[in-house]
Symmetry: D2
Subunit: 417 residues, 4 copies
């Protein structure tokens, strides 16, 4: 095991740890940990709600989730010698649930959850169809997830961090805040909101205190969206063995990470989302000095996925186009066409006995693939969603005998939004 | 070889063939070919511009492409016993370039092309960056494509039909026309247009003549967009060995196909697009009676890809978010985030000596994968584009030694739009 | 299509063709076709028994197969400039059944066969268990093989040449003949024989005639075994897209090929064997001058498999050790341990209702993988055979409910040896 | 983490642990641990020589390795309700190096070794070419192995147990002893020996003592060979996610395991062999009552590999036939043909600057695949060995520019045998 540089004690809250992480992006959050290029090290990560979600059969905790407090991140970790303009190489040597703890109240202790927020909390990708709060508990047996809430499906984990990134510079942060506020201003009362402005309430900023804490809290960006620094990209393929290249915007790079997922489908369509858990990451860092200019990588993370993602060779795929459910034609809207593809998959799975929300939860948590298949054929984009057939305990393909019927069991806990 | 039911003579134009196909969707285009459930048969397909694009080093033909005449489709082919409500199973037994003809003036005779339209002709996915007309010729050597216009790249074909589908019913056609006209009406003068209304000019409607021809031509839908019947989905994974399930909207199903591609990246981002060619398809059809209701498949094609797609195990991926190049924040716009991911890949490839348009052409033609990675993290969606590293003759990964430099050679022919 | 340099007319016997190939290895068989480095070209190939095996339900033709006449090979093809010491690069651009002919009396016209020889004809890998002659007919529908003799199994073709190689030099030929005769001499009366000496009877030697024919026929090596020149390697992964490097032993290299297989399991354990067929190969050749020494490749073919082999992600594997069925312990005998692994797979498949010979035929024809898992753990080697579970129409995995029962149907035709 | 039922303290020798395992097979070794069908549990495993091999640059420890003491196994573990005739399902939930310990004197603490024995100690697959003792140390960084003794190669671990199996019944044990002694008796003085008879010296038999210890020690089978109970199969694909089915020969099944490998090529050709290490296994067991008869599995383990083995899509393969290096023709000897294929690969790699022993070590430790390609083409079998090209830091393919030259560095430590 590499040296543990950022420990978390499962029995304590995120703010009571030896080193306190953060839940906002800001260049002035102090790095309490420093590593050198070439170093390998271990980081513990807390699940994104710091333990507020429980292993039970109620969705009340999802309904009342402490949204202001996300994402609790481990870091920032300074990398010696990193300067603006460099590319930071991050090798994901390993990533997994909380080691040696397979039961307990924290997601990551042998279990995780997938949630759908009520619309007023941000909803999900299909919030019009699923406006309430829902929760599914998944049990991890070795590398495989199963659920008492979604029967007859099991899949090998495609474990990855939902969120990892470097700190923004002050000017980049200002850019973020300005452009996101401009969007909010176009419809400030929208539910769900268009974006999330800085929010001092619940801000955790490492060991900052007093006036400095308040200044930073007032400026710091929320962690929900992915941005130029990587951040909450929710790319399911950032698995063990992956190499990521992040732009460096501040001295020391200030790398942070968290929001671990045991598994996720492309898009994290359920929002809360993936199979959420805490755990650990083993990382190795290095630098390409001046690499941002050398390789033209200035405003996005680039990466090479690992070689051990779960392998499937048979897929059932659904397509969608950019026409709304009400029949309105939109112009090359790939977001909409992916929604329609997902809804088509849900329609299909319901014919096998699943409830609609069970089907939605499968799409959010299993390693489905979402593809931008056609993006130019005006006015309809075409998106596709691919389901690995082997994750089902039964034959999920269309055939002459009609769909097998599953027993939906207790179903998915719901709390009215 | 299965029986050839729809032949095309490479020396004759599409309208001079023994059986004349069509280039519009309408339920009343007569089927001159009928097959039975269980039948295997061969269909010839003409490249989508009926030979207007030449194997040369000028993009003038792309600039002046006969857009009103696309897509020249083979069919309709009636399937005995098919009725509205059925699912039509179509097995793609084989698909390839024009057999036994490896040189000649027709795309598919040993070569194909990728084009980018000038903005006034519809542009491409990145028309703001590439407003002119461009063309690249690809040579097929066995299963591999290479180009004198894009050096040091070679990839195994992922051969597929860009377009296949069943005929719409009269009411479905009316729905299409109404919703697309409503979109056009929101900005009728837009360049490129928001959608393409029915266009009697250049309509090919099988053997219809006279008043019936004129009636149908006035009503028939253009073939550019994918819709409920499948159509121009441009799904690169509909390769040999795939099984597609189409909804049936009219008696006999009336299956048509064309727009063959030797290869394509997810999205067909260059629009004209993929590696365009003529060729053949070997198909087998069958029916699931009443399958639309049984499986909940009423407004989209579903499919299972084949088992012999080209295999790559190492990928270099680029991410993008829904912020415009001008810095404007958009709300969960996966179309935009995929554009940004593609632009990031183009930025990167330019550092290796490629021109921007060469890089764009690689993304359009090679088997890149485009993923909807994050679609819920307001306000930024995250899209990713994956390039197989093995398609390059050199090491395309970032490293300590900096990017290898290719000789861009003659480059990509352009004609000012 | 590349230029057809070696045509075969399906209506004529192998010796009545415009260019007559050969069925023995000898440096002095004249090359009637010459190609240049860099050339692409097409070659027709006859099935190895020149049409003696029929599409029927009797194994009499296998029992009486004209063994002295195999393998009918296309070539030799001279490569300009090739000299002893070079490496000959052969790219398999394409390989498939007889194009445009999907029915007829020749294997390759839409069908192929797998046979097991009677012991006196050479038997098969498991000749003690299966001492008679057997035959299975496989139908090709697109890229997939199915059989009326082996129900409920279907697999995507892994099409390849069983045999390809360069001509031996006179001294290499002498070495072959000497070492094989020395083996024969250890047990000259053995049934099946230990090796096959030169046999003038039925020798086909291109257009050689008279005394030269008789001289060459007396010296020429049989084509059954693989040797330093490649030859009858029966490597199932020499599929479309593969690149092979052959040592060059004579001026012009004199490349020959044939014995096409629609599919085969590792080992070609049924001997006659694979799914035998005629068809075509599209090849491209090039030279690495002096490459034998440069790369240390002097007595074997090396190769890189293609990228489009059929993909499976779930396998059921059986192991075997080097103990005979009679319980005798052998020393690190990987041949025996693979026999035992195959027998274990046959035992297993019989529990699902297959006859033993049906199971054997599946192992011979389907793309099973045979691995040398352990070769050092004295006294037992461990070999394993992997079956892709997706080739079965039913769930072939062990489970709580016991094995599904197939209807074995008419079964496998047999003729007593 | 599942419950740890078989702990090992890294600071103590194998015989000083709380529960002492065993290094021989015998039905009467007591099971100190019992689990139930459905249980998941963790087992620690010691490296097979119990720490006798050091992380240094001398091969003296390999030369003097305590062969009489291998393999130190964890177990036996009794499974409640298991009876002779059942099939024992063993799911490998996880397997890895010693957790939380990345440095220290035990293989598995961040490093492992590959050895070749001197001929008098059993040699290796190529002992005629490599008659001395050699050792290579591999460092584990996350999931990847690299070595100071073999430069410019790195590969993702394919972690697995070399040895796992159930206890033999008394009659099965007697069968083993009889048949192996019969083999030994054919050449009792052979070096290396033909097989290893029971050896009371160094026998570890759990907590047996006194006369019972001596009786069992005199009868118990050595653990080197794989046999009907599974045992030392050295199958590199028994990775995380695999399911194995073992025959049950005694009440409680008495499962044991050990000899963990961080990586291995097919065959474990270097014998000591693979990348040897200690570590842990997380297992889940279940029973198919009467399954040996139901599925015809009575004398071998069957298994389904996991879904997360490292993926490679480009391979360079070498073939060999059953002719000795001295030119003697053998009859269908797949063991010999695999030796020749491996020697051909070694010849090739030497042209890139590796020493012969470095090349041999790569083949033993990296995830190469060894296939039984042709086993019927008398007199030559054809075996092939596939190297994933991506494990090399340079382009290992043959080309026009000749082989890249690596700096072999300090090379492989050797101790004269």
């Amino acid at each position: 095991m590499p040296e543990l540089v950022f420990p978390l004690d499962s029995t304590k809250s995120f703010t009571d740890q030896a080193i306190v992480g953060h839940n906002r992006w800001h260049p002035d959050i102090p790095a309490k940990v420093t590593v050198k290029p070439g170093d390998s090290f271990r980081v513990h990560c807390r699940e994104w709600f710091d333990g507020a979600i429980h292993n039970d059969d109620s969705a009340d905790d999802i309904l009342n989730a402490p949204l202001a407090g996300v994402h609790v991140l481990s870091g920032p970790i300074a990398v010696e010698g990193a300067q603006p303009g460099d590319l930071l190489i991050v090798d994901i040597l390993d990533v997994g649930p909380i080691p040696q703890e397979d039961s307990g109240p924290l997601a990551g202790q042998g279990w995780g959850y997938t949630g759908v927020f009520a619309t007023r909390n941000g909803g999900g990708f299909l919030t019009e169809q699923f406006p309430d709060a829902y929760k599914v508990i998944w049990d991890f047996t070795g590398g495989v997830a199963t659920s008492r809430h979604v029967p007859d499906v099991a899949f090998t984990g495609i474990v990855h961090p939902g969120l990892m990134g470097t700190a923004p510079s002050a000017s980049l942060l200002a850019t973020w805040n300005a452009r996101e506020q401009a969007l909010i201003d176009t419809d400030p009362q929208r539910v769900p909101p268009l974006a999330l402005p800085p929010l001092p309430d619940s801000a955790i900023l490492g060991d900052l205190t007093g006036a400095e804490h308040d200044r930073v809290a007032a400026e710091a960006a929320r962690t929900a969206p992915p941005r130029e620094n990587g951040g909450n990209q929710d790319i399911k393929n950032l698995t063990k063995g992956s190499r990521v290249f992040y732009p460096v915007f501040v001295d020391g790079a200030k790398l942070s990470m968290g929001d671990l997922h045991f598994s996720q489908g492309d898009g994290e369509i359920t929002f809360c989302g993936a199979i959420e858990m805490g755990g650990f990451m083993d990382l190795r860092v290095d630098l390409i000095k001046g690499g941002m200019d050398t390789y033209g990588v200035s405003e996005n993370a680039i990466f090479m996925p690992g070689r051990t993602d779960p392998q499937y060779s048979e897929w059932l795929a659904f397509s969608g186009t950019s026409v709304t459910l009400d029949g309105e034609q939109r112009y090359l809207d790939s977001h909409l066409s992916y929604q329609r593809a997902c809804l088509h998959a849900i329609d299909y799975l319901q014919k096998f006995g699943y409830s609609a929300i069970q089907a939605y939860m499968i799409l959010g948590a299993a390693p489905i693939e979402g593809r931008l298949s056609g993006v130019v054929d005006i006015p309809n984009s075409c998106s596709t969603v691919y389901l690995p057939t082997a994750i089902f305990d039964f034959d999920v393909r269309p055939g002459a005998n009609g769909p097998h019927q599953v027993d939906p069991g207790m179903g998915v806990p719901m709390s009215a939004g």
